[in-house]
Symmetry: C2
Subunit: 439 residues, 2 copies
């Protein structure tokens, strides 16, 4: 993509409404624009990252055997009366009347609707297990939306819903999602630690939050440092095998949010030199809630003995849009964002340091064409800005690799490559630069 | 995908609420489920097609130079008061109050919001031309939603919005979208004919509807048969070149909906043997509306002479979710859907005609593994249904290629391949079947 043809409205000033660094950087880098309190438009740079995150989430859900469908944003109030949550949910639920005065709501979550879909079609244990997920915009009418996409009102979530015959089978489904989540966040370059959690309004008795460590995070967390070095299951993990050993390994090392922190246990279990008290951001949560919704909504299947029983359910959320904020909170410096490669809006930026110089222009065009032809996502800064502004913009938007081409180095047949994550620089021929950045 | 692990709730009976064939087939094939009047959940089979259509639309928008962003579903009422459309839009607009009694609406279209985004950042003609698009769920509170996804209330649209300094430049943008639309629909296997159209509530003085011919369509259309044979621009079309010759070629052959049909001109221009009067379905519409929104909302840029002028705009919609219905209306027979390959939920279906027979099972598994490894999307019917039910389901859901494996033909080292579009059958070795279906 040529920057001269892209839409990248970078802000020079720090927006005063932004209280946290991810919100500030997303506004300054031209990634989002607020359209109403807690409601954002995703400008092209932000949209590209959002899609990359969404795609990683999707691939790992698919790999685990979950099936994607899509539920609408609007739901009938009557569906929520069945579960008893319509009145219970409170003012965070956005309630709507259509032209015929029918009561609708903008879905804050989808346990009711997916249970309704399930019960309409599945009648026998033979069709289990089943895990259905969707990636959809949801709405929660926060009293005071803030922190940009971290606590928005309209936000993108992945939610999976599992259906099983009994608790043992439901725990197998739970474990699959646990492993899928470990892989999902690791692929984005994040250390997201599963921590035992309260179940809250979803209900049930088993839940883990996945928390990204970031000093600017909303929750205090206490961990045994060893948890940071636990191995994340590889692409070859067999979801049909018994995943219990992986779960045991990850849940036997101390990791808790301040809400459920047990100071006595922490001091007893964790050696002093391994105790870490830091902060974190929740990016996912998984729940086993048993028959809470299937009892209320009569989602029954015939068991092997022919007797109808309510299914055991779980739900599994990932905050897709929130993840952009979480990643920036974890990966930035004073100059801007440092995107992990897997979610970067572009992988490489070419900075033409003397736009209009025939040799420099030609070298930039050639490199741009070569990298693009090899499938590398390149943002080519071909604008007439001065070099300093190009450096600042490239650091701000956080592209992992910057290739700088100016008359001096080019006269020696060289370009300079800068790695954004650590600031390291190297000088090499354009051909070596291509070889380095491809594959 | 193994059918035993997929979620494909096929209905045996014709649902009585479905008045048209696409609605009936989408319900019977387990593609959608109605959640409220005109509001659907997309079950896994339908979701797969929706994503394929969305991706083709995206690729052709990108190819034309349009930039993707995403606007939220909810908008502030005040934004629409600026353009004067808040009161004008009528009861199709879903109006909402949040917990603080702020007036919101569920976007039925986005001219106002994109103009607001544009004017916030773009101040000079030097940043033009610009074409921004999004693919988003929208809501129109139809008095009487019906015909399934063809006239739903919550529906998926692609909308592009172009910004140019003057009318001549805006017509260049319009022509790019015209060509992109020709390519988009052709890639889906559709003959979508551009027809001069009324501009309606969007405003402006230039518009074309893209209409798919289907006997069950909503609009009567009159065309010169020659329009069906006009060449669609290829992948190598140069969007930076003058596209006028392509537009002239397509707009000089008679094609009109009954609303704007001119019987006298039709008879004068079109030889009797080339006159076609049939029906069609609108799948896209493009508008040039000049300064309608930029005047009202003060979207000005400084021209080359330094004087601020209102930009000239256009908008360009594709009914992404509606396209599923349109494609089915155009491509089906009494047995079910006949998906064009580019949008089929799976490309190949393997039918195991004797589940449990060791040789047949092994041959099916081997073929499934080979095709999957070569990147072919396969649905493997490994259920314990009888052969007749498998044939009927495969025809209903419309996978383009069916490979049938039973004990008799397998004893001779053969499988049977059926092409869904014309019903033709061939017998060949499994290795030949793989060679035929790969690439």
């Amino acid at each position: 993509m040529r920057l001269s043809r892209f839409f990248l409205p970078i802000l020079k000033e720090n927006p005063k409404e932004a209280e946290i660094v991810s919100h500030r950087l997303m506004l300054r880098a031209g990634m989002i624009r607020q359209e109403a309190a807690g409601i954002y438009a995703w400008l092209p740079l932000g949209f590209r990252v959002l899609k990359k995150i969404e795609q990683i989430v999707r691939e790992e859900q698919d790999r685990s055997g979950a099936l994607e469908l899509l539920m609408p944003t609007l739901q009938l109030a009557d569906l929520w009366r069945e579960s008893g949550r319509y009145d219970a949910y409170g003012p965070e639920m956005l309630r709507i009347a259509d032209r015929h005065k029918r009561e609708l709501l903008y879905g804050p979550t989808n346990e009711e609707m997916i249970t309704e879909i399930f019960r309409a079609y599945v009648k026998s244990y033979k069709n289990l297990p089943l895990n259905l997920y969707h990636i959809q915009w949801k709405f929660r009418d926060e009293q005071r939306p803030r922190f940009g996409v971290m606590r928005g009102r309209e936000f993108l979530m992945k939610d999976a819903y599992s259906f099983d015959l009994n608790e043992a089978a439901a725990r197998v489904a739970y474990n699959k999602m646990f492993v899928a989540y470990l892989r999902t966040f690791a692929r984005m370059g994040l250390k997201a630690i599963p921590m035992r959690a309260e179940t809250g309004p979803i209900g049930g008795d088993l839940s883990h939050e996945f928390i990204v460590l970031a000093e600017t995070g909303e929750s205090g967390v206490f961990i045994n440092r060893d948890v940071l070095d636990l191995p994340v299951p590889g692409e070859d993990v067999d979801y049909d095998s018994d995943l219990t050993p992986i779960i045991k390994q990850w849940t036997s090392v101390y990791a808790a949010t301040e809400d459920v922190h047990d100071a006595a246990r922490f001091e007893q279990e964790v050696p002093a030199d391994k105790r870490v008290n830091t902060r974190g951001i929740e990016v996912g949560q998984i729940f086993y809630f048993g028959t809470k919704y299937s009892d209320a909504m009569k989602a029954l299947v015939a068991g092997p003995d022919g007797v109808d029983v309510p299914i055991h359910g779980g739900s599994y959320g990932v905050g897709v849009s929130r993840l952009l904020g979480a990643i920036i909170e974890a990966c930035h410096d004073d100059a801007g964002i440092k995107w992990p490669e897997a979610v970067a809006p572009f992988r490489v930026s070419i900075l033409n340091l003397k736009q209009g110089d025939a040799a420099v222009d030609a070298a930039c065009e050639k490199l741009y064409a070569e990298l693009t032809a090899k499938g590398v996502d390149v943002l080519y800064d071909d604008t007439d800005q001065r070099a300093g502004a190009k450096f600042a913009a490239a650091d701000l938007i956080g592209i992992p690799w910057q290739i700088m081409i100016g008359p001096k180095s080019l006269a020696e047949g060289k370009v300079e490559i800068k790695k954004r994550s650590d600031g390291s620089r190297e000088t090499m021929s354009p051909a070596d630069a291509v070889a380095r950045l491809v594959g």
